[in-house]
Structure formats: structure tokens, C-alpha cells
Amino acid sequence: MLAATVRVTRDLDLAEECTQDAYTHALSSWAGHGIPERPGAWLTTVARNRALDALRRAAVLRRTLPLLVMEEPVAGPAEDDLLRLIFTCCHPALASDAQVALTLRLLCGLSTAEVARAFLVQHATMAARITRAKKKIAAARIPYRVPGPDELGKRLDAVLAVLHLVFTTGHTAPIGAVLARRDLVHAALDLTRTLHRLLPGHADIAGLLALELLTDARRDTRVSADGRLVLLADQDRSRWDRAQIAEGAALLGEALRAGPPTRYAVQAAIAAVHSEAPTWADTDFTEIVGLYDVLRELWPSPVVELNRAVALGERDGPQAGLDALTPLLAEPALATYGYLSATRADFLRRLGRRAEAAGAYEEALALTDNDVERAFLTARLDEVR
């Protein structure tokens, strides 16, 4: 509904105002006349009429709101509007934090306060960030359009990066009392699903959706009944969401058939190997190390190297894992990355090097503000002391 109204106004603030107006109007009108047959269409029509009224008023007042109406009317169903809005919110001319904020605010319907909480910034800071981004969209005329085929690939990368960030932020919240933020996970899943439906045949979208579904299928087993973190190795696999795993695996197949493997598809393939293994000990770590070898080519990143070291440690033992971690200790990008310390601590613990393990656990504790993760690390620290 917001997306359809933006098409008329080309002004995000005005569109938001008009859609809110429409809801208010609905409350009084529907109470008197009953709920219309197609409430969504009713609301959209009201919001768009309000927008047109506002625009006419603006014209009369000779107000120079920038670029109010598009030169050419664009036809198409509401979902096309949604797609256009996704590409506007994730335009590379906007800073990446602004892309994420706009996506959550305008496409996922989170309040500014919720977006601020999710990204650990003050409400006023987030409000200013969103306002600034909306102003730039209007002033610089960032188009409200799905990019042409020659640009689509690159622009889609930016959209998927935003969705992936929203998903991972929800899957393991960087701060707070709970491990996961379900609202962000749902927001990312819904939008990725929509994108997959609207832009079929893109291996990257299918790959990301597969990755999200396979990862999220473990949601009920990641924290124990008394609120403690449960590692992948110790999770009750009978409680993984098998229907969701099947859907993710099918999408992964689709992604791999659509073309050469993409970053998200390989990540999904790694998740799929875990999903298929009956236990942690029975996991095919040779295949997982092989997949990380492919992934590091597609996406050279110290985080990938860290995860590959974990898999190596499972395949060849903790000493091999520790050796693979050593070069990463000098990596500036990982200097404050708590998972590096935690992984190192775990290898040292398994090698019986308790004093060094304790030091690494302390380091990991200093680097996370998530209460569930902190409790887990504290328990491990007590074990090696």
C-alpha cells in the first residue's frame, strides 16, 4: 500500500502520511458501513486519493516539493511497486546503513524505534538517518524503478546484502537478553521470499532464501529450555524444522541449476550438509571443508577463513584447526571479532591447554554483549579454570 502510494507522490514522507490517514479513515468508515470486500484495495485507493489531493493542494500553493508526480504513469500490480521500492531503498547512492534502515522502516514496517534498537543506535540518530536518506532520494532523484537488465545483477547484490544483514542481525542479535530477534528474521525471510517470487530465475536470490530457511530451521534448538546457548554440535536435531529444510534444499537445487555457484548458494550448501547429518559426529566435514574452499574463492573474507578453520578442526583434529586459525590472529578485520577468540578457546580447551584457553574465553567474553552467549562462555571458562 505504501509502495503504491509512493508511485503517486514520489515523496516517501507524504506517502507515509497518506497511508496513515487511510487507516484512520478506515476506522470510522468501516465502523459505520462495515468492512469492504477488498480492504487492502480500499485502503490503497483512499491513500492514493489523499496523496492526489495533497499534491493538488501543493500545486495550488505553488509549493515546490520536488518531483511530485512521475512524468509517465506506470502501470502494474502492487507487487511491481514493492519491487521498485526495494530497489529504491537499496540504491548504492545511499549509505549502506541508510539502505538497511529504509528497508526495515518502509518495506518491513518496523518503527523507527525498533530499527534503532536493532542496530544499537539512539532513536534520534536513526530518525535523522532515515530523514536524511529520504531527502536524498527526493533531492537527487533516486529513481523509483527496477533497474534494467544490464544493471540488475549489481543492484540485486546490494539488495541481497541488505536482506542478508537483516537476517544475520536477527538470527544472532549483537546485544540483548535474547539470542535471536524473530521480527528481523521474519522481515528478512518475507522480503527474500517476495523477491524470489517477483524475480524468478536468479540463482543469488534462490541461494539466499535457501540459506535463510536452512539456518532458521534450527531456531527451536539453539537455546535450551532454561535459556542457555546450545551449539550446533549439541542441538536436538529431531526438533529441526524438517519441512523448512526440505524447502531450503529444493531452493538450493534451483540455485545450483540456474548457473555457476554463487556465494549464498555455497553457504546454503554448507548449511544443507549440516541439516542432512544425523549427528555432529556423522557430519561430512570433508565435504564442508571442500565447500569452504569454493566459498573462499567466491567471497574472500577472514570470516570465511575462520569458519573453514572450524571445519578443518573437525576433520583433522583441534591442532589442525588451531594451526589454521593462527594467521587470522593478525587480521585487522577480526581484531574485535569475538567468534575468533571463542573458536581458539575451544581448540585450546580440547588440546588440554587450559590456561591459554581461559585467556581466550575471557577475550571472547569481553567482545560480546549478548547475554545468552555470555552465559555460555562463562560456563566454558569455569570449566577450564
Binding site: L67, A93, R141, I142, P143, R145
Partner: protein
């Protein structure tokens, strides 16, 4: 349609050291840009180096203080500009992306929307 000012920035030292062959290549790039952009180019010029700039700021008794040099001192300097007319930012990016300075490691362009006063 909207108007954009495309500001061409680069390393002053690198530009000063540009040889004749490289200079010819850059100029050919601008001719190709102009041919592709056509009527979208409303104006544009290469600027003399910032050492030739004069800056005026508020002074005493309604007389500006005149100083030698650019408004902001920096390694990267404004070397030229185009005024473009384009349907939207994507169209402006597509045109400005053709400029030879975009494909050199020490330079780049900034696209600024023009505020229209009706």
C-alpha cells in the same frame, strides 16, 4: 528532467605530472563523453590548477579579505565540471561514469543535484 553538477576531482600532483600521451587519451575520453551525452551536457569546463585560485572571505569594514589559493586546501582538487541534464540519478550516473577520470585510480567525480528555484 533534473540538473546535476558533475565535479571532477583528482590528485593535483598526478594531474601535474600527466604526460602528453596520457593527456591526449583523457581529452579523447571527454570528446567521446560529449558525443554520447549530446544535449544532456548544458555546460562544462576544465579548470586551471588550484594554485591560480583566489579566495574571498568576510573581512573588516565590508571589504572582503582576498587570499591566494583555493577555499579548501587538500591533496585532491577540483579539476573541472560538467552541468548535466538527466531524467534521474541513475541516468546521471550512467553518463558521468563514462568520464575518463572515473577509470583512473587517483581521480573520480562527485554528482550534486542542482536546487531549482522556480
Amino acid at each position: 528532467m533534473a540538473k546535476y553538477l558533475v565535479l571532477i576531482y583528482g590528485d593535483e600532483q598526478e594531474w601535474a605530472n600527466t604526460g602528453p600521451q596520457e593527456r591526449a587519451r583523457i581529452e579523447a575520453g571527454h570528446r567521446r563523453f560529449a558525443a554520447t551525452a549530446g544535449a544532456a551536457v548544458l555546460g562544462g569546463h576544465e579548470l586551471m590548477p588550484p594554485g591560480t585560485a583566489t579566495t574571498l572571505r568576510q573581512g573588516a569594514a565590508d571589504r572582503p579579505t582576498v587570499t591566494d589559493g583555493p577555499f579548501l586546501e587538500s591533496k585532491e582538487v577540483l579539476g573541472g565540471f560538467y552541468l548535466l541534464e538527466a531524467a534521474d540519478l541513475d541516468a546521471a550516473i550512467a553518463l558521468a561514469g563514462l568520464l575518463p577520470e572515473v577509470s583512473a585510480s587517483h581521480s573520480g567525480v562527485e554528482i550534486r543535484p542542482i536546487r531549482e528555484h522556480n
